[in-house]
Structure formats: C-alpha cells, structure tokens
Symmetry: C2
Subunit: 250 residues, 2 copies
Amino acid sequence: MSNEVVTAAMLAIGDELLSGRTKDKNIGHLADILTAVGIDLEEVRIVPDEQDRIVEALNALRARYDYVFTSGGIGPTHDDITADAIAKAFDVPCEHDARAMKIMGDNYAARGIEFTESRQRMARMPRGSEHIANPVSTAPGFHIGNVYVMAGVPSVFQAMLDNVLPTLRVGQQLLSRSVNCPFGEGTIATALRDIQAAHPDTIIGSYPKYENDRFSTELVIRARDKEKLIAAETAVRNMVEGLSASQLGR
Amino acid sequence: MSNEVVTAAMLAIGDELLSGRTKDKNIGHLADILTAVGIDLEEVRIVPDEQDRIVEALNALRARYDYVFTSGGIGPTHDDITADAIAKAFDVPCEHDARAMKIMGDNYAARGIEFTESRQRMARMPRGSEHIANPVSTAPGFHIGNVYVMAGVPSVFQAMLDNVLPTLRVGQQLLSRSVNCPFGEGTIATALRDIQAAHPDTIIGSYPKYENDRFSTELVIRARDKEKLIAAETAVRNMVEGLSASQLGR
C-alpha cells in the first residue's frame, strides 16, 4: 500500500449490452473489487462489437488511466473481435499464441473434442501479450501494456479478475463509512453542504432512495485518511441525530 | 416509423456507480426501451461527479449521436452538479427556472414543507431548457438541444423516460429473434460464421452462457427487414437442429 492514487477504466464490449438483451454484471463487480483493493475506477464505457469503436475507446482510456479492464468479445464466434481490435489499437499483429494453442489443444484432446479452427480463434492475441489464466473454461484472457482483456461471461470474468488482482499496483485505499438517514435530501442538503465544506479532504455523497412513497438517503463519507474520515462521519451522524430529535420534539 | 436509423448514447453520472456502492439499473432499462421503440443505443459512458469530466463526455456524445440521455446528479445536495455541468457544456447560464420554482413551490406549500435554498437548487437548469415532468417526486428533469437530463433514482428515471419517449423521433426498429442452442460456441462457430456471411443484412450474435459446468449459447439474429430476419433465423435453426440430430445419432 502506498500514498499514491492508482486509476482504472473499464471498457465493456458487446452489442448485447446496448440492446438490453444482456444486463451487464461485470461493471458493478469490477467496481466493488477495485474499490476494495485501492484502485479508483474513474470511467466506464460500453461500445458495440465494431472494431473502430473499440480501438478508439481503448486508446482514449489506456492513455488516461493506469489500468484498463475490458469484458467481452474473446470467444470463438465471428462476432468476437476484441483480440483483433486490441492488436490494432497497439499496432501489433494478432496471432495464434503458441502457449495458448498448447494449453487449449491439450484440454480439448483430454476431453475428446476436436480443436477446430473456430476454437483456435480463442488462442489468438496481440503479439507480446501475456496470459490471464482461465480456470473456468481454459481459453485464456490476456494483457498487453496496461490493458487487461477478459471474458464477458460473469463467472469467467470474475475468475480472470481474481488472477489479475495480485499482479496490480494498488494505491492507498479510499475508506468509506455509510450513515443511513431517514430524511430526504431536501431536508439535509444545507447542513450536509456545510459539513462537506468543513471537511475538505473527504468526499461526502448523498444517495437518495425512494421506497413506499417516501424518500430517505444514504450518506457516504469517503477519505484516504482514517482520522479525517471519522471526523466527517461523526459530524454527519450528529447532524442526522439532531434532526431526528428535533423532528420527534415538534 | 421510417427507414432511417436514429442513434442515442447514455451518460450515467455518479461516483457511487464507479465505487460499486450503487449497481446501475438505468442503463439496461434505457437499452430495453430504446430498442423497443426503434432507437439504437450505441454507446454508454459512466463518469464521476466532476464537472470537467461530465462536460467532456457530454460534448463528445451529443456531437456524435442523435440523442443523449443522462442519469443522476440533479438532486438538492452539494454533490449534485449535473445541471451546472450541462449548462457549461452548452455555454449558457444555469439558473432557477421560473416554472419549476412555481411547480415545486406549490407542491412543498401543499405539503407544509419549507421550500429551502437547497430544495430550490432542483429548479435550476440551463437557460433554454424544457421540462421533463416528474410524476414521482415533482422536481422536473430537463432537456436542452438533443440532451435529456433525468434523475438517477430508477423509479424517477423510468417515469421521466416514459414522458420523454412520445416526443422522440424514432427509426425503423431493429427486429430480433432468438434461438437457444444447447451447444457451446466452439461447436457452432464455423457454421454460424458461414450463415452470417450468407445473410449480410442481418447481425447474428452469439451469447455464451455457463451453467452447471457446461456452456450453451443464445443465438440472436437482428435485422431491420423482416423477411431477411426470418431467412437468417431459419438457417440458424436448421444448423442447430442438424447438429442436435447428429449428436443424438453418434
């Protein structure tokens, strides 16, 4: 752990996410995991299975953030074009990786399944890539430069991410505390703004919920310094309790 | 309905989506609804509550697509900065809208709640905006140019979207048919690639599922022309049935 801030972006690839046919589950998972280890996810983009769009988004994101994680488009079918797009973005050839061919060939042979040309497509990666092991279904993901290319199927994405995590540089974790507030944002906004102003090294967020015809709020305090976190959390709790007492008394 | 293609992007705004604290529900909903009415969602971005980042993403998206839909950041608290950011992107002042002040003021008065400065923040919008009615909690969203600014709370986002939909220009709907395939992608990839090549005016997608230690696939055929859709669907179904018969026979 260090004092530095390490940043990341996610690029989710797939027509099915944009048509609504598939509801993404990888963004929220990646966000949870990166937050837990001390990497700040700062941007997400979802783009269709089109090479130019993938290349453009990837180049924008990899130039800006320490890490980029992609999901989707690395299977054996014709619409799986992520490996070619990543190779194009890095201006290197996309070719069958010898070690991936061996791992996958051995696996198919052991299962008595033919290692067809289509299946061999999954061994293609940009020249210079390193593998991301896939304990679920063998065909590896890969990383090249600061880009980590993983499957879209959530169980495979998660398993690949688990293998990537220990290799990443992490920053100082952004700590967070949450305070449930039974009042809507309109009731607390002025007091909360003043608390934020008095605690400049914290980030105080207000997340409204609407249930049973009424609003309540989840107040989230985040900071890299634990003492500052607690000081701001205490101020928020005091504000909410003071308000509850005054509402009870009226 | 027309023959033209109408495109859209979504900009989801909020630190909570990037920290994992909130799992987005609006992207998938917007994708479903736009697909149903014949608007193609072509890109999604998620950015934090930072003015420069919102402005940059919004300007990129609104220049490129027919419509941009945003979610989040229009509440009364200090971290709700979407209205200001949109105004900055359009280079117009962000100011209290007289009609919004009246609607909201009347509503709070009827409920015996003070219309505080914080609550009045929700009546602020870029000069020249038009309202998006909010039947759930009164404070309106707004649209300016081709940008539609809506709440992040899913029930409010959905209600606002319902009010926006009838005002949008729509294109020819992308029709779709789905074929469940009991085989993994490796088994069907070559045949599927040939079907795609023989049906160039359709988009054939392959979506792997992994359950109970085995892969299956959902094959989705999309086209704007119904006859071409059905021809490609028939080819896909014949391929899957032929494969099933040959597997049973061996």
